[in-house]
């Protein structure tokens, strides 16, 4: 093994890294700032062409693309299980111009997807990245098919999208993608190592990335657990380490409203130390305070749970959501997530406690919801024969609700929502029971902000504006693509497309 002379932080970069870390409020979450005095020596314990941090959609796609190009590839995952948030979401993937859309006569285009995402993003989006992602969705879709991912034969309508373009895995989970992709990557020879946490990104005196320090045998959440080891990344390092929605301390600094009164849909490991390592390496932070609240979560269960696939795929598109105090609707149930979440969050009493809105739908509108059965079984949703019974159970203003239902039914029949402008993709009224209802609240769901990358997934240095050599990032740890509000099912699109690009480019310098 060749002895490497690279040091943890080159002198020329260290001051800059420090400033950047401080600017990103990330310094304290690392603890060690100057060098790695107590760490392992200068020798590499292991060497790979490409090292990938994170085993979700982005990391696994990057691994496959890098391996296809002949690179030796290591994927590290700090948690016990692989897949991160990618394994525990609803498996909804927006594809512009999919064969399923064509079969159902839905006209779509890359331009239209970009336009929808820009509108929700309120102009904060980095358009060049957005375009690459929208263009790449069709190919990312084919890529997943190649490795055995299966989708339902239906195109879903998600909030903020102007047309149905969302595909969903047959098992209704992102695991329907991460598991087959992970299996394929392993079969190709990619090494996956769990309980291995990134400690630091190593750079040579020019700032180029040389490898990483990890803690192997890490026991989350014990930060100091695990043996320190140095792993060389000869060709490239891909940071695909996700967002920080579960990191209450860090997210509250970015947005004080994101305190621990709010739950998160994310797994416990969705924390900020990967982002902090990137900032220390010189990366440019982008829009870190743009943190998304999911408007379809339930206060009656933890985490992501069953509610999103009931509200998002039944009650919101084909029913209504009301304020229990008035029985009235208060937002277009199919608006983008920010519009809905902001509206939901206003429902608090004088003491500041949530007054949970209730959303419901007639049985006719439940056909696309895969989770209703379990939602009913575990008390997240309830079934009622009449609107009156529903009103009584949730303590909804009865007269207000009955009048609202009459108005809504008239709008559906007329084909125009004169209250909130919701598009009726199917004519489903609230006339005939039984009805299914659940309480709605917001949960911290996605970090739109992150580090800046270019269209090659290269991480851009904050001071020079140039790519940091051999450093790539993709997925939720990157920022700017989704602006102020990511549209549902566009994260899988982002992660798969940019993950593939990162893997391809990270392998370019392989020996």
């Amino acid at each position: 093994m060749k002895k490497d002379r690279s040091r943890t932080n080159a002198p020329a970069l260290s001051r800059r890294s420090l400033l950047i870390a401080a600017a990103g409020s990330a310094a304290a979450s690392i603890g060690v700032l100057s060098g790695f005095a107590a760490g392992p020596g200068d020798r590499w314990d292991e060497e790979y062409d490409v090292v990938i941090v994170g085993s979700g959609f982005a990391g696994t796609s990057a691994a496959i693309e890098a391996r296809k190009r002949g690179a030796s590839v290591l994927v590290i995952e700090k948690m016990a299980v692989f897949g991160g948030n990618s394994a525990i979401n609803g498996g909804a993937f927006a594809v512009a111009g999919s064969p399923l859309q064509a079969r159902q006569g839905i006209k779509d285009s890359v331009e239209q997807m970009v336009e929808d995402m820009l509108k929700a993003g309120r102009g904060l989006n980095h358009v060049e990245l957005l375009r690459v992602i929208a263009e790449g969705t069709r190919w990312a879709y084919e890529f997943t098919l190649e490795y055995g991912v299966q989708y339902k034969d239906v195109v879903l309508q998600f909030g903020g999208h102007s047309i149905p373009r969302t595909l969903q895995t047959t098992n209704n989970s992102g695991g329907g993608i991460t598991v087959p992709l992970g299996k394929a990557a392993r079969n190709m020879g990619v090494i996956f190592r769990n309980r291995t946490k990134l400690e630091q990104i190593l750079q040579d005196s020019s700032g180029a990335v040389t490898g990483i320090v990890v803690r192997e045998g890490h026991r989350f959440p014990d930060e100091d657990s695990g043996r320190l080891r140095r792993i060389r990344a000869r060709s490239g390092l891909v940071m695909a380490c996700g967002g920080f929605s579960s990191d209450v301390r860090f997210r509250t600094r970015q947005d004080p409203g994101m305190d621990n009164s709010l739950q998160s849909t994310n797994h416990a490991g969705a924390t900020s130390e990967g982002l902090a390592a990137l900032l220390r390496a010189g990366a440019t932070p982008v829009q870190l305070d743009q943190i998304q609240l999911g408007p379809w979560a339930s206060p009656d269960e933890k985490g992501f749970g069953m509610s999103p696939q009931f509200l998002q795929q039944a009650a919101f598109p084909y029913g209504i959501m009301v304020d229990i105090r008035t029985g009235k609707r208060f937002v277009n149930e199919m608006a983008d997530r920010k519009t809905r979440s902001d509206a939901i969050l206003k429902h608090k009493d004088e003491a500041g406690n949530p007054v949970y809105p209730v959303a419901f739908v007639a049985e006719e509108g439940t056909g696309e919801s895969p989770s209703l059965g379990n939602a009913l079984k575990y008390g997240v949703a309830h079934k009622f024969d009449t609107i009156e019974a529903l009103a009584q159970f949730y303590g909804i203003n009865r007269e207000g609700l009955l009048a609202q239902v009459d108005r809504y039914n008239a709008f559906v029949k007329a084909g125009e929502d004169r209250e909130f402008g919701k598009t009726f993709f199917k004519k489903i009224t609230l006339e005939k029971g039984p009805f299914y209802a659940g309480r709605a609240w917001v949960k911290v769901h996605h970090c739109m902000g992150g580090v800046q990358i270019n269209t090659k997934a290269q991480v851009i240095h904050m001071a020079t504006g140039e790519p940091i050599p051999r450093l790539f990032a993709s997925g939720e740890v990157t920022g700017g693509v989704h602006g102020a509000s990511r549209l549902g099912s566009c994260a899988i699109a982002d992660c798969l497309v940019m993950g593939r690009i990162a893997g391809e480019n990270a392998a370019a310098r392989k020996a």
Partner: protein, 120 residues
């Protein structure tokens, strides 16, 4: 000369200390689950699961030595509602020790989001 002697003495002391630790480790008895009492010789045979000298979390291969394969484990719990060994999120590949703790309290990671109940 004298310096060298001190170093030699220190070395011997360190070796002796190390030896006594090793001996102590071999005599140590860990609390194990009832169904593992037999295979672990009442919790004295650490090596049956821990290949490393340090007490590290064993890899799944250590569990599968006796339990067969992920698929076999999944089949065994096929009748359990929401089969934790064949889930939409991890397929049959969930890391054993993510939920099962031999020397501590086990807990299904499913419970982070779901209200499922399992006997472990």
């Amino acid at each position: 000369m004298r310096k060298q002697n001190i170093w030699a003495l220190l070395l011997i002391a360190a070796l002796a200390l190390g030896f006594s630790f090793a001996q102590e480790a071999s005599q140590r008895q860990a609390a194990v689950k009832e169904h593992h009492l037999g295979v672990s010789q009442n919790g004295t045979n650490c090596g049956i699961c821990h290949a490393a000298s340090a007490p590290e979390i064993p890899p799944d291969a250590a569990c599968l030595k006796c339990h067969g394969s992920y698929e076999k484990v999944a089949q065994r719990t096929a009748a359990v509602e929401h089969n934790p060994h064949d889930s939409p999120h991890y397929g049959t590949t969930a890391t054993c020790t993510a939920c099962h703790s031999e020397h501590g309290t086990s807990g299904a990671i499913c419970s982070d989001c779901h209200l499922f109940k399992y006997e472990m």
